[in-house]
């Protein structure tokens, strides 16, 4: 009834294991090839393959990618952070406020915004730890709290963020975010890759990184081995907050405004990227690189569908399907 590939048994297992381990990259490659194959061609240019288009995709996925890196750390220890969208909204509005009304300067603003992210993350981790409340609940509450705070503190309306040369009052250096390396690679994408490299190296080569995997894999065994489980967990939330705040700075500059109502559903995109990239929601298994690949892949899919004039709603269908497929593949790996 169905034709089968007659491969020797051992090779099939190895292929499957490798495929699942690198599912993020494999998925990215497959989507990329599909994109090239189905792209419209105009004036002898493959519209998908075109460098401008690829750079547009990278710029667009950078914020999600940066948040997804932070989310990976949280999911690796077996927790979740639903508040990232709201924290991004607060951070973006704070960025706009500090750069314009408060005239804090670019570096000062960045430092304060990153600190605010760390603070939100720290509260998430500490409350969850101290009161033994599941992070799902705590970060759900923080989602509400941070959003409300953003609206209350900054008046509920978007704060315009324009450079002096654009008629506003923000310093020009802050807009380095809009620059491109060599005129080609957008700064947000460079930030995403830089953060990914640092986080990957830290996870693999530092004791703290190993603790993250240990706590996620088996918290009891980790504790018995002398790992400070609570400290590890609180730190990942703080780190996730810092990365979200970085994304919020990028967000505000790119959009020329800080809006307390932005960032809706950003947590879902980040979690989707992490899961599609091969990180297990149970904890202990996954990579930062996979999350970046997942975010990139989702961005590519959006782009392919847009170039082919497929409805926005279909993109939602595709995203949902991919998440389920990714998790199913992980289950397959564990069974095989």
């Amino acid at each position: 009834m169905s034709s089968t590939l007659a491969l020797p048994r051992i090779n099939k297992l190895v292929v499957l294991h490798t495929a699942v381990r690198f599912q993020g990259f494999l998925g990215l490659l497959i989507v990329f090839l599909l994109g090239v194959a189905f792209a419209p061609v105009k004036d002898a240019t493959n519209l998908f393959l075109d460098v401008t288009n690829q750079m547009n995709i990278l710029r667009y996925v950078a914020e999600t990618g940066i948040i997804a890196i932070g989310m990976t750390l949280v999911i690796l220890v077996g927790e979740i952070d639903l508040s990232v969208g709201a924290v991004l909204a607060f951070g973006a509005t704070l960025t706009a406020y500090l750069l314009t009304t408060a005239q804090f300067g670019s570096l000062g603003t960045l430092v304060v915004v990153l600190a605010s992210g760390a603070a939100f993350g720290f509260v998430n981790g500490a409350v969850s730890s101290a009161f033994r409340i599941p992070s799902f609940v705590v970060t759900l509450a923080m989602m509400s709290f941070a959003r409300g705070l953003a609206r209350l503190v900054f008046g509920g309306v978007a704060i315009p963020l324009l450079a002096i040369s654009q008629g506003g009052s923000a310093p020009e250096e802050a807009f380095f975010v809009n620059m491109r390396l060599g005129g080609v690679i957008p700064v947000p994408a460079l930030l995403m890759f830089a953060v990914a490299i640092i986080a990957s190296l830290a996870l693999r080569y530092t004791p703290y990184g190993r603790h993250v995997y240990a706590v996620g894999g088996n918290p009891v065994a980790a504790h018995l081995s002398g790992v400070r489980v609570e400290f590890t967990k609180v730190m990942v939330f703080a780190l996730c907050g810092v990365l979200t705040a970085l994304a919020s700075f990028v967000h505000a500059i790119q959009l020329n405004q800080g809006a307390p109502n932005d960032g809706f559903a950003y947590e879902l995109n980040a979690i989707a990227a992490v899961v599609i990239g091969g990180t297990s929601l149970q904890g202990g298994i996954g990579t930062v690189a996979g999350a970046v690949a997942g975010a990139w892949m989702l961005g590519m899919i959006d782009n392919i569908l847009n170039l082919n004039n497929v409805q926005a709603d279909v993109q939602l269908l595709v995203k949902g399907t991919l998440i389920v497929v990714a998790v199913a593949l992980q289950r397959l790996q564990r069974r095989a």
């Binding site: 105009k42 004036d43 309306v157 020329n256 405004q257 569908l305 847009n306 004039n309």
Partner: protein
Amino acid sequence: MTIRIAPLTLAVLAATTLLHAPQLRAEDKKYTIGFSQLAFDDPWRVAFNNQMTRAAAKHPDFKLVIVNAQRDSSKQVADVETLLQQRVDALIISPNEAAPLTSIVKKAFDAGVPVIVLDRAVLGESYTMFIGADNKFIGNKAGAYVAKWCAEKNYNPCNVLEISGLSGSTPAQERASGFREGIKANANVKLATSVTSEWQKAKAVPAAAAAFQGNKNFQVVYAHNDDSTEGGYIAAKNANLDVSKMLFLGIDGLPDKNGAIVSILQGRLGASFVYPNGAAEAIEWADKILKKGEKPPKKVTLGTDEITAVNAKSMCEKYDCEAK
């Protein structure tokens, strides 16, 4: 472990067809018009898209591409980038917010793509033309209509309940101030009470109900959008007011089955003023710019249509309404 080929092949074939379906239509259109719409999720926007599609259909050499930003400014920037990547001949955009969309609109304009901004503005002047409605003017016309209606009915005083939109929003502020100017034509018209529904029917009902509790002597209910007027109508009936002696009017004038045209035909709303979207005008100007090289005015302000029981049927024809 076996890898099943047949279902996999079918899946790939299905995906191929799905992705290529839009391209199976005629690819030989001369001009591609890209329309970046901020959302598809309310009746005014749906009517907007329908009118854009109908207008473009009148030009056989126009291919219209509509993209949905789903109320996300980041996504709308990416949408416009993709439209530019598709080498559209003209860009029409209804921007979600002014500041976030200004750079990308400027980029398109500087690259030589004609850009027509509709309904909401961007900052600065880096676009070909802006086509929008004048909320103050429309509010004024509504006020003038009320003044005339109260005079014809000989009501003195003629008490008005105003149900306003979201108080921080420009349309609400303008529809309110224009109305106050318009009713000056009849000194007997009194703006007795003003409540807010934040544009929503569900909030209009309790807001109006509270007003009716204090005072049942209202002759006119004026809301900033038709949906809220309907809410006021429900509250009036619940409060046992004699709705047959009252005037319920609003703004939007939509053709869908929950809209003003059908409501007027069914006898609930007495009048509505169309809040125009500029779709048809945009397509006409795109035609002139692309094919005749005309230089358009920087700003075009749209008028409005007054819809009452007298002309509801012909308005239903004009706007292709969903009357049974």
